[in-house]
Subunit: 283 residues, 2 copies
């Protein structure tokens, strides 16, 4: 496995491999890798000849009051983990390599980005779409892999790829959880022991929703209220949003039917965590 | 020469040619070809193995009160001209092939697009950047060719290519003029005989500016006033803008020095025409 720091290195490599007829799977990450990321890489390895992982904490997707500076970083350890699952190349550029001085171009997906995390994090998805466009143009992959934990991100990226005619396929991989159910996230590192326990309330509230639906409840408002009630019982938790929406367009739904997404963002202490559940119901 | 109507046809063709090691030059146009376009195609033919020309009147770069519907179209004649200069492929898709229903993604270059044509034509450059991004992703060229007549467009596209890491080179080709100096434009077709004569005032005003600079005039404001005075002598002409700016950032300049752009947009009757002059002065 090699670590490239520059765009010219990765371009040269990709062109050479492409000329040799190799297919390229790409996993864009912000590093501090966990089993969720590694699952994406393993999937990429199954489907492609070459797996390229980018590790880049993208400043433009963080708001001014968010955790860009403190976001955890550990390239050396990341490299060890990536190598173990068969990654061929890590692209780990500095910010100055990625963003030219005076860069002023933004890729924006309207509509889908107004809601859920987009409502809480102004400009976040513009930053995501812009960096992902750049990385797609740099890496030129056949397939790119994203985790379902960022459900809205997956939807936004898929929309962008279709709308801008990127010639690649987006593959989504299910949420990977800790043994006790907490969705894996680099931000889990921020949690102290008490917060780590409290953080379980996200998954438990989704399980409650799943049970209610399984028992035949079809009133989205009622289910949402039950989720909110459960989360509010946890003193360290503060809800950012709880939404029950259509999986395709993220619009609110009243009746639980078809393909729905239950998505939530909750502060545990200072740490903002997200989780979600996708349900497909026969009408 | 072949004419493709679909994205899948052009993709298949490009992949095949690329596998065979061919280089691809791309000339995006809105059709109704004139010698300006043909010069771009000839340049592309010199530099590349394959030349692809797109002919697509892009609705998203026209404002609601602009001439999208009436914009001149003649694919059959365009094909004859393109074939004569050695074009290999024309991509001439329908609007529905290019813009998926519910497309919501925009590529935006800030700053450079606020001025000149961007100030007069709200949303124009968003439309240009979005369609050009799409076409770049569809055609995947090594080099793309743009006419210097759209000086601001060239600058915006170059910025976009750099900022989003498109892996291609933008080649700019000088303005091609009619024998009497009128810059070639598909919109010249709108002009009746009287307007056609009146339209010469654009070029004449640029020539006047060039003479003033050659005679040692360095006051941009004075030169601008002389341009405006000359154009206002033409009863059929109505100025949209006359600007003297820095070539790189389009910012106003006071003193004529370095690399400057004199750009103007003038209505001749109902028809909006643009023209420009680039000067490089030793300081």
């Amino acid at each position: 496995m090699e670590i490239f720091k520059t765009i010219s290195e990765i371009r040269k490599y990709v062109k050479q491999e492409r000329r040799a007829g190799k297919t390229i799977g790409f996993v864009p990450t912000m590093g501090y890798l966990h089993q969720g990321h590694l699952t994406l890489m393993k999937e990429a390895k199954k489907d492609n000849d070459i797996v390229i992982v980018s590790i880049f904490v993208n400043p433009t997707q963080f708001g001014p009051t968010e955790d860009y500076e403190q976001y955890p970083r550990n390239l050396e350890y990341d490299a060890t983990l990536a190598k173990e699952v068969g990654v061929d190349i890590i692209l780990a550029p500095e910010v100055e390599e990625v963003y030219l001085k005076g860069a002023v171009t933004t890729v924006r997906v309207d509509g889908l980005t107004d809601r859920l995390c987009g409502a809480s994090r102004a400009g976040h998805f513009d930053g995501v779409c812009t960096i992902v466009s750049k990385l797609f143009n740099i890496v030129n992959p056949d397939k790119a892999y994203f985790g379902q934990k960022d459900a809205q991100q997956v939807l936004v990226i898929k929309k962008m790829v279709a709308d801008l005619n990127f010639d690649l396929e987006i593959i989504t991989v299910s949420i990977v959880r800790e043994a006790d159910g907490l969705a894996m996230s680099s931000r889990n590192k921020y949690l102290n022991q008490k917060e780590r326990e409290a953080a379980l309330v996200l998954y438990r509230s989704l399980q409650l929703a799943e049970q209610l639906v399984a028992a035949g409840e079809t009133d989205a408002k009622l289910i949402k209220e039950e989720i909110i009630k459960l989360i509010n019982q946890e003193p360290l938790a503060k809800i950012d949003y709880v939404e029950i929406v259509n999986q395709d367009n993220l619009e609110d739904i009243n009746k639980i039917q078809g393909e729905i997404l239950i998505a939530l963002a909750v502060y545990i202490g200072e740490t903002r965590l997200i989780d979600n559940l996708m349900l497909e119901l026969k009408c």
